[in-house]
Symmetry: C2
Subunit: 227 residues, 2 copies
């Protein structure tokens, strides 16, 4: 991954329970060093965190084990992130920066189906699916992580919204249709399956989700004002 600038851990900044004059906490006046080593450590830990989350889930996330995987000192992990939820929040801001290219076929039905299938494939994939599950679990246990997750999904939805906007411009959908709401409507049943009912996440399910969202959108269910 790219060595992006500064700490994204602003929202998940390590709490400083120690004495209030203690140096070496982020926020103290002086030069911040986002430099090579720090970035390298962050990248190594985040990648190790992904692996650990996939293997043992969020509940089984162990910062000590993590440090060993990343070949980094335990102290460093505890100091920089402080908690498992803060670490996952940082991982999420990192994930939010990697954007997936979306297809633009010019047909609403096709675009929605492509989106549904992409989401489906992601959630059904053993590695990606486990990661998303873990990340969502973490977000539901900590406000900061929840905010990071919210940001992640906003990014994803923004990428796909244009295909709805264009359909509105073509007159396929009611003029005051909320594009975000339509895109989210595609994902919702797939996430619902993964998180609660545990039913098979197969391709027909994805196509049904896309078709349902399209039908509902055409019927005006996602208009901003009620008729």
């Amino acid at each position: 991954m790219a060595a992006e600038p500064v700490e994204a851990a602003a929202s998940a900044a390590p709490a400083a329970p120690g004495t209030p004059g203690t140096p070496e906490r982020p926020g103290t006046p002086g030069t911040v060093r986002p430099g090579g080593r720090t970035a390298r450590v962050r990248a190594a830990v985040l990648r190790a965190a992904e692996d650990a989350l996939v293997e043992h889930g969020f509940g089984g996330l162990d910062l000590a084990d993590l440090a060993q995987r990343a070949e980094v000192g335990r102290t460093t992990v505890y100091r920089r992130w402080g908690s498992t939820t803060a670490l996952v929040a940082d991982l999420l801001t990192d994930m939010a920066e990697q954007s997936l290219p979306r297809s633009r076929s010019g047909s609403l039905a096709e675009d929605l189906r492509a989106n549904a299938r992409l989401v489906r494939r992601t959630l059904a994939d053993p590695r990606q699916g486990a990661l998303f599950r873990a990340v969502i679990v973490a977000a539901n246990g900590d406000p900061g992580t929840a905010e990071a997750l919210r940001h992640f999904y906003r990014r994803r939805v923004e990428e796909w919204a244009p295909c709805v906007t264009e359909a509105v411009e073509r007159g396929e959908l009611p003029p005051d249709t909320d594009p975000f709401e339509v895109i989210r409507a595609v994902s919702a049943p797939l996430y619902y399956r993964m998180l609660t009912t545990a039913e098979p996440l197969d391709e027909p399910a994805a196509d049904r989700a896309a078709a349902a969202a399209e039908a509902a959108a055409r019927a005006g269910a996602y208009r901003r004002q009620e008729p």
Copy 2:
């Protein structure tokens, strides 16, 4: 660590209120005692678990604290349930037995909206919402708990399916519409909001979920066979 048969009634216990705990010692084929004290302990612990989950979420669930709340010995809690996930699984089987009465208005749109509003109100309620969140989090970290959650939702969906079936019989919906799928389609966007995007769970959102599910159903998006 070797896991002894401590595995309590959790993973597969279809327990009635006041149900026997599972016999524990491998070599004691003696009588099981579903009796008063055991049932009382279970009820007290499950109620305390609800409170604790609401207050601190699943991640903050502490069996020792739980025992104190329930005025029960720590050892008892560890012996009977063994883990926090197993305890939540037992709580879920208990919750599955309390059924909510549903309204039957004879109109598909109204029934779906009533369902959506009920779900919405439940998830938006500080107590119930926190409880559901915690329970879902627990289920996503343990297969046994996931099975219990699946069972819980099957019950709930079965209760509401008839209003779809009747709409099919009245000819309002395509004949091969899957009733379960329609009911789940109502819940999905609401759960999606709560678990991932954290957008407001207000009444318009509920009504939109109901309207979208209805429109999609009418359009044949939930038919068992593809056209």
